[in-house]
Point group: C2
Chain length 79, copies 2
C-alpha cells in the first residue's frame, strides 16, 4: 500500500533551510513571504487496510520519520 508522509517543522521552530530558501528566492527577484522546508517520504507499506497502514505509519513517524518535539507530520494513504 502506497503512502506519503509530510514532515514539517512546527510553527515557531527555527527553520534555517526555509530561511535560506526565502533569502535566495528574494535575491533572485521572486516576491515571496515566509518559506518553510520539510521532508516528503513516499513509502510502500505492507498492511491489510488503509487504516492499518495509517496506524503503522504513525508508529514509524514517532520512532524514526519525524522528531515529534519539533516536527509535525501528515499521513496520506493511497487507496
Amino acid at each position: 500500500m502506497k503512502a506519503t508522509v509530510l514532515v514539517r517543522p512546527k510553527a515557531g521552530i527555527l527553520d534555517p533551510q526555509g530561511e535560506a530558501v526565502e533569502t535566495s528566492l528574494r535575491q533572485l527577484g521572486f516576491p515571496v513571504g515566509e518559506a518553510r522546508v520539510g521532508r516528503v517520504i513516499d513509502l510502500d507499506v505492507d498492511a491489510a487496510s488503509p487504516d492499518a497502514a495509517r496506524s503503522e505509519i504513525e508508529r514509524m513517524c514517532e520512532r524514526l520519520l519525524a522528531n515529534p518535539l519539533i516536527e509535525s507530520y501528515e499521513i496520506e494513504v493511497q487507496a
Copy 2:
C-alpha cells in the same frame, strides 16, 4: 497566496536518504517496501491569481527549488 511544493528524486535516480530510511524501518521491524525521500516547501507567494502563483512557482522550481535533471516537482496552490 499559500502554496506547497513537493520535490522528489526522479524514478531511477539513486536516493541514499530513502535507502537509509528503508533500512532503518526494517531494522525496527516495520515491513516496508521502497522508501523515497524528498522535500516539501511551503511558500507564501505574492501573486494576483492561483494561475499566476503557479507559473511563478514553476520558475522558482526551475531556478532554485528543484534540480530538474534529477528531481521532479509538484505544485499545489491553496485557493
